[in-house]
Subunit: 144 residues, 2 copies
């Protein structure tokens, strides 16, 4: 499975405000997964979580995550990114969630009451799928 | 987090041929995630994998999985299902992948050369998101 840097086609996909799912590991060792906003910024993935989120605990205990980004125009194009949360910081002034809300909804983030945490994810490996085929090899025509 | 049975609204979402992401645990303990077809059948989730898939090894070693299904019409509606692969069987005659291909593409599965494995997933817990809100509590307006 290839390592960064990502090719231009994958970066172009990541730059779009696409649907994504982030997977992490619960403290009991089972996988957690949930839909998420993200931003590809400076070669890392930015995620934002309400400070009360259970998965903030999971990530503090085990920073390994996987993020699958589906092309919003054609979800048969997708990229899965495998890496680690390398930084968690309070989203002071909600600047990061505002950036995400602008990216996805073209509006500031409406909820100003709940504190949020920003997570930065470094990517170790990635896998790109296009037209039912994995770039690394043709072994089927269905997603996964 | 609620347990099955799933409410009618969630079952209705699962019946549509929606994009989904399945997360599993690699043997090194890190999460894997990839886009997938699925079918909700008889209260379980059916997945299909090319027999050569690495994650078939992961699942045999650790059957815990998470599946996030995004509403193809509005991905701010999503359900995450947490459970275990309870059965893995060869897809004899490709009947299961054909059913998935009919569901998603309205055609039989084109690749007849590569053997596939069907996985059945029992659901232990689930979480439903709608209009930026989790059914279990309102704590934000962003996905995750």
């Amino acid at each position: 499975m290839p390592e960064p840097p990502l090719p231009a086609e994958v970066e172009a996909l990541l730059r779009k405000p696409n649907p994504a799912v982030v997977a992490s590991i619960r403290q009991d060792g089972t996988p957690h997964a949930v839909a998420t906003w993200y931003e590809w910024r400076g070669g890392r993935i930015l995620l934002s979580m309400d400070k009360s989120r259970a998965r903030l605990r999971f990530i503090r205990a085990n920073p390994a995550v996987a993020i699958t980004v589906l092309d919003g125009d054609d979800w048969y194009r997708s990229v899965s990114l495998f890496g680690r949360v390398v930084e968690l910081c309070d989203d002071e002034g909600l600047a990061d969630i505002d950036a995400l809300a602008q990216r996805y909804l073209a509006t500031p983030y409406p909820d100003r009451a709940h504190p949020r945490v920003t997570a930065w994810v470094d990517i170790d490996r990635w896998s790109f799928w296009n037209s039912y085929r994995e770039t690394e090899g043709l072994d089927g025509v269905a997603p996964s």
